[in-house]
Amino acid sequence: MDHIVIIGNGISGVTAARHIRKLSDKKITLVSAESDYFFSRTALMYVYMGHQKFEHTQPYENWFWKKNRIDLKKGYVESIDTENATLSFSDGSNLNYDKLIIATGSKPNKFGWLGQDLKGVQGLYSKQDLETLEVYAPNNKVCKRAVIVGGGLIGIELAEMFHSRHIPVTFLVREASFWNGVLPQEESEMINKEIRSNGIDLRLSSNLKEIVSDENGKVKSIIIEETGEEIPCDFVGLTAGVSPNIDVIKTSTTRNELSRSIETGRGIKVNRFLETNSPNIYAIGDCAEQHEPIGDRRAIEAVWYTGRMMGETVAQTICGNKIEYKPGHWFNSAKFFDIEYQTYGWVWAQPKDNEARFYWEYKNGKKCIHINYDKVTRKFIGINNFGIRMRHEFFDSVLTKKQSIEYVLEHLADANFDPEFYKLHEKEIIAKFNTENGTNIQLKKKSWKRIFQTN
């Protein structure tokens, strides 16, 4: 019986384990140094904010693993001996595998800032990060001000977390506007406003110069590159993105012969079947890097959903149904303080040459949609929706069938996924489009029949 060992019990590793169990009787061992049981990383913020206890972030009850014969091993893998198919743990123990799935996730970026390893300076990624956060920033007496460096999704989450405990926050964002490498200017500005309206001291176009230590090796202040301003603080959150966590490969490479080492770039290089160059070794999730990016996607995708999809896919391959990783249409979601965000298809920060945009914003400045479509063919390319929920099935089908912008607008009522009785804006949205484009699109009534056909 094959022994499948999975390093990492995040969404990728756990999804792979679950699907391998569904498809086979293989022996499965799930290895983690971080936590006894799988938890939802994206929910760590809610534990700090007091919305949930840590146990609530665990999607499966503790008996689940034994019942499904998924062995859990807590331990830190120090190296992989690819020749003998053996893992060495930091406690000296070893584990043999027939097939190995590496799903070690990411780690926060550090760009060599002076003082980046001081006490009270950290990212927010792991369960351990949450624990140290409770040490250095439990409340606004211990932590009189926190500085966050890096304007991405984790940065804004961290800001919301501190805000929930009434800890003043200075938020340094390198870009001229929040997350504007991903969001178009309109949405980005909406989020700037949302951040500021929550009392966060948002500093745009601001880089970190250095982190200053006190006499005990703990952070005392930071200095801003552009202005030289020194901001006293008790905590610095480094949230300038994440990179694949490939430490285990690096240590292994020094121990293995070069010819047997696992190939890496920024992440672990994999082909479309999520196979590494080393036989019987796969890599999935944040730590995997495609040789060639798939479609318009990035070679490394550090997203919950892609981790899950790779887990679903690699399980098929391991269980004898060898298939390529072929993710469907891009989608993603996030929440920025009180503003929910979903996206389906592609809406780039800057339109490409063939693209036209349609933007509508509600008068309260907390809802908007931004549609990207082809100027010539009118084909719908993608949508950003803020403060309005949209149906995933609807847009997935629209993208598959290459429907036009007109089709999408006509059927916007089918797409809406807001709770019942919410104010509907479809007419207003279409009226704006018609005015701007001289068209005469009419909204169709919501149809269950159509909604279900899209399934």
Binding site: G50, H51, P59, E324, P327, G328, F337, E393, F417
Partner: protein
């Protein structure tokens, strides 16, 4: 703002303290006239009881309800014991001793409270309402802009089963025990609401009037909290308004006004089998005796349960009743909302839930079967079991202990839907319809779930919503009351309560939307 809240909290606690202390004060003197009146009203034939009363109670001054109650109940019990030994069945006093005692004590009280009903209303209800509102309303500012603000719920000892939670638990359980089993101890509370009762039905307040008035008050005040907490969410606003309306108008005002017009007290929205004594002999007799109106109620009650309830569940799910209309649901969704995260989500508790709640449904139906058989056949016992005994056991175990003491008393420990989830026979009935024949479901939005767990944590019915959402599978569960909070707390817009075609409502999936289309086809259709 914080200052206003603190003052409000102080006023609320003061009102609560005055309310609690009322039990211990007042003077009680049973005059010969009071005894005569009660004896005549009740048609008491036991001279032993009257002698006991004259010897130990009448003309004496008692300074607490406990001592006078103790004397009266022992007078009843002593007399009954002798009568039963002598088989003098017509002389036995069949009333529950403390309910009988209530009739006497209510008349016998005197002193400060009875003379200053209005003043004491302000010192109890008035301070409580004012203080609570002063605590609740500043949250508009303190908790920040509209949106889900569950910050610190699990750090607060009131909402994480900490000491304030346990204190509230003890208080609520004590309240229900007094209400159901020692009404004669709480006559002072009923004095406070006498003027309101008189203005509605023309009668002095019973303990049930007190309970009804308190219920409406608590719901109204806590509805203000709901309106603030969910001011961004129109579903919650409308739902809260609806339960509040049905409680105040249907469960409280209309029945009291009916009594004023000498009609039977009836709550038009209270459907059998939640309204478990609807088919009891005394109720049927009373309805039949009240002519056309009684007949209408009889037909309405049956149509409600047999036709309206299931048809509405088919179209809208059981939420139309449980979280839009029902009084128990109404209290759970207002007073109980701060405790919703305390319900147990384990698979084991789901198993217990199914056994217990369906057990109660079977119990209720069996009891009603016995009742109707007895009613039409005129026999007192069926299969050698006295119908009255079964009714008494149900009334005690389910009607009082489960629905009241546990159902509400345990809010701060087991969450706000203990009764609805484990005990309510109507919920069990609606649940069966909802699970097997309904258009209602909670739609899961493709592959958008991130397994964060907010939905499961805040599900008051203890449904592990996430278990479905993370598989991309719609939630179709008999217990779901459609409160809509899972959808509200979801940070990624994954959940939507909706009524759609039955076809495709239950859609188990292995591979979620967003992955390879061929893989989804291959796996999901296998």
């Amino acid at each position: 703002m914080k200052q206003i809240q603190n003052i409000g909290l102080g006023l609320f606690l003061l009102g609560l303290a005055v309310f609690a202390s009322l039990i211990f004060i007042g003077n009680y003197e049973v005059t010969p006239e009071i005894l005569d009146e009660v004896v005549n009203n009740k048609g008491i034939k036991s001279e032993l009881f009257i002698n006991n009363m004259n010897a130990n109670v009448v003309g004496k001054e008692f300074s607490s309800p406990f001592s006078v109650s103790s004397e009266i109940t022992s007078a009843i019990e002593n007399a009954n014991e002798t009568h039963k030994q002598n088989s003098e069945w017509d002389k036995v006093i069949w009333d529950k001793p403390h309910s009988f005692s209530y009739e006497i004590v209510k008349r016998a009280g005197s002193g400060l409270i009875k003379e200053n009903k209005g003043l004491f209303w302000w010192l109890t209800f008035g301070l409580g309402i004012l203080g609570a509102l002063m605590y609740i309303i500043p949250n508009v500012v303190i908790k920040g802009p509209p949106g889900i603000k569950n910050n610190g719920v699990w750090f607060n000892t009131a909402t994480n089963r900490g000491w304030i939670g346990w204190f509230a638990f003890v208080f609520l359980v004590s309240f229900y025990l007094l209400l159901y089993f020692r009404p004669d101890y709480i006559v002072n509370w009923t004095y406070v609401v006498d003027p309101i009762s008189e203005s509605l039905s023309g009668n002095l307040a019973s303990q049930w009037f007190l309970y009804g008035f308190l219920y409406c008050t608590v719901m109204s005040v806590m509805a203000v909290r709901m309106y603030i907490k969910y001011r961004h969410n129109k579903y919650q606003i409308l739902r809260t308004t609806s339960v509040l309306f049905f409680q105040i108008v249907f469960a409280f005002l209309i029945p009291e006004i009916l009594v004023r017009f000498e009609k039977p007290w009836y709550d038009f929205k209270n459907a059998f089998p939640l309204d478990y004594d609807f088919f009891f002999k005394w109720n049927l007799d009373e309805l039949i005796a009240s002519g056309g109106f009684g007949l209408f109620v009889l037909v309405w009650g049956i149509v409600l349960t047999v036709v309206i309830v299931p048809v509405m569940v088919y179209f809208f799910g059981k939420r139309w009743y449980c979280s839009w209309v029902c009084g128990c649901g109404g209290l759970a969704e207002t007073l109980g909302d701060p405790y919703r995260q305390l319900s147990d989500k384990s698979l084991l508790s789901w198993k217990y839930e199914r056994w217990i709640v369906h057990g109660v449904l079977i119990f209720a139906i069996t009891m009603t079967g016995f009742t109707l058989y007895s009613y039409f056949s005129g026999t007192e016992a069926v299969l050698g079991i006295k119908t009255q005994t079964i009714q008494d056991i149900y009334g005690f175990l389910i009607g009082a202990i489960f629905a009241g003491v546990i159902g509400t008393g345990f809010y701060p420990i087991f969450g706000n839907r203990v009764w609805c989830r484990f005990g309510c026979p109507l919920a069990a009935y609606l649940g069966i319809v909802q699970r097997f024949k309904s258009r209602f479901r909670i739609t899961v939005n493709g592959g958008q779930c991130i397994s964060c767990g907010n939905c499961s944590t805040y599900c008051e019915m203890g449904i592990d919503v996430r278990a479905y959402a993370q598989k991309g599978e719609n939630i179709v569960r008999s217990s779901c009351v459609g409160c809509g909070v899972c959808s509200a707390v979801c940070p990624r817009g994954v959940l939507k309560l909706e009524n759609g075609p039955e076809n495709g409502r239950i859609n188990p999936t292995e591979i979620l939307l967003g992955n390879d289309v061929d893989l989804m086809d291959f796996v999901n259709k296998k």
